[in-house]
Amino acid sequence: MKVAVLSGKGGTGKTLLSVNLAAVSPRALYIDCDIEEPNGRLFFKPAFNKTEFVTVLVPEVKQTLCNGCRQCVDFCKFNALTYIKGKLVIFDSLCHSCNGCYTLCPKKALSPKKKRIGRIQRGVSRNVSVTTGILNVGEASGVPIIKKLIKSASASYALHIIDCPPGSSCIVMESIKEADYCILVAEPTIFGLHNLKMVDELVRLFNKPYGLILNKCMDPWDPIEAFCKERRINILGRIPLDQDISKLNSEGFILVRTKKAYKNFFSALLKTIQKEADNQTIIGA
């Protein structure tokens, strides 16, 4: 089963949940798709023994062939090309690798060249195989890294936990595409509810079965309860706002590997998720 964990807002507990669900299962593959700030590795602390680089194609120009027609400059939707003082100037970091410029160039002055935008690292932490994507600072899009992360995920693991980036943009869509089930994580706050609505819309658009986990809970907070009722969102569990959890988490400990109580809590949660996912997948909801 492939479970994607997402949230509109950052800092709601995606990684806390993902790491602990993976760690509490007998054997799992944890995939960190939060490529701009991957932090699952800070908890698992695996010795990464494999690194793969991710490359994309960006244009390279032969100035002697360029006649300054500017078709490529006008075509580029991302303004990655300019024509200055008789020379084509390329901004690699804005290029989205659409191949348009070299397809269009009448003088064949442009050709594709490979460019590294990030890397994928793999390692092991006890029962969990840890895979993480890392996007180089300043790059336009991490989609190619996520595509590779998802595609290269080994089918030999019964459970895949996909720790998604925050928000609801392209990189999140790419991260949940192959998921069998989605878990939304939200905080019971106005901001939390606002961003929950965004991801709720997203998973519905993708027709994914999903449930919600509320994190940092105190007393039930009416607006989020009402929203869940109205949208018929199943609340799978509630993680309390708790100093001990915060402290252990901030020190990079995996809760289920520290205390029996946490192990039991997340173990039960994983069972609920598995049951729910099975049910919903059968119904095709």
């Binding site: 400059v73 991302f78 303004n79 990655a80 300019t82 200055i84 003082k85 901004f91 336009a140």
Partner: protein, 122 residues
């Protein structure tokens, strides 16, 4: 010498725009002939790379110097390649800045920012 300034509207009174790449208009002013014209900035709607596209417009209008409160790093690279010098504006007033420029009172804009990249700032 031809200078350019990012402005809020197509009038001298509208004042200097706080952004370069997403300024609604550019005032192009020839200090010799005193001729001026307002260019509509068609890069303003771009999702990404507005600064680069706007800089291309400035280059294409044979500008020698740009008077701006700030400038992103990508646009700055375009200007550097084109040998266009950036000067830092001192007030919001178009006339003040042109007068200061002609008296050599403006300093060169040496700091550029990393840009806002789709975060609605620039």
């Amino acid at each position: 010498m031809v200078i350019a300034l990012p402005v809020n509207d197509n009038s001298v009174e509208s004042g200097i725009c706080c952004s370069f790449g997403r300024a609604p208009y550019f005032l192009i002013f020839d200090t010799k002939s005193k001729a001026s014209l307002f260019l509509e900035n068609y890069a303003i709607q771009e999702q990404e790379g507005a600064g680069i596209k706007a800089a291309q417009m400035i280059v294409d209008n044979r500008v020698d110097a740009l008077l701006t409160p700030r400038c992103g790093e990508n646009a700055a690279r375009v200007f550097k390649t084109a040998n266009i010098i950036l000067y830092k504006t001192i007030t919001d007033s178009v006339n003040d800045n042109i007068a200061a420029f002609q008296k050599n009172q403006l300093s060169v804009l040496s700091q550029t920012h990393a840009g806002f990249h789709g975060h609605n700032g620039e």
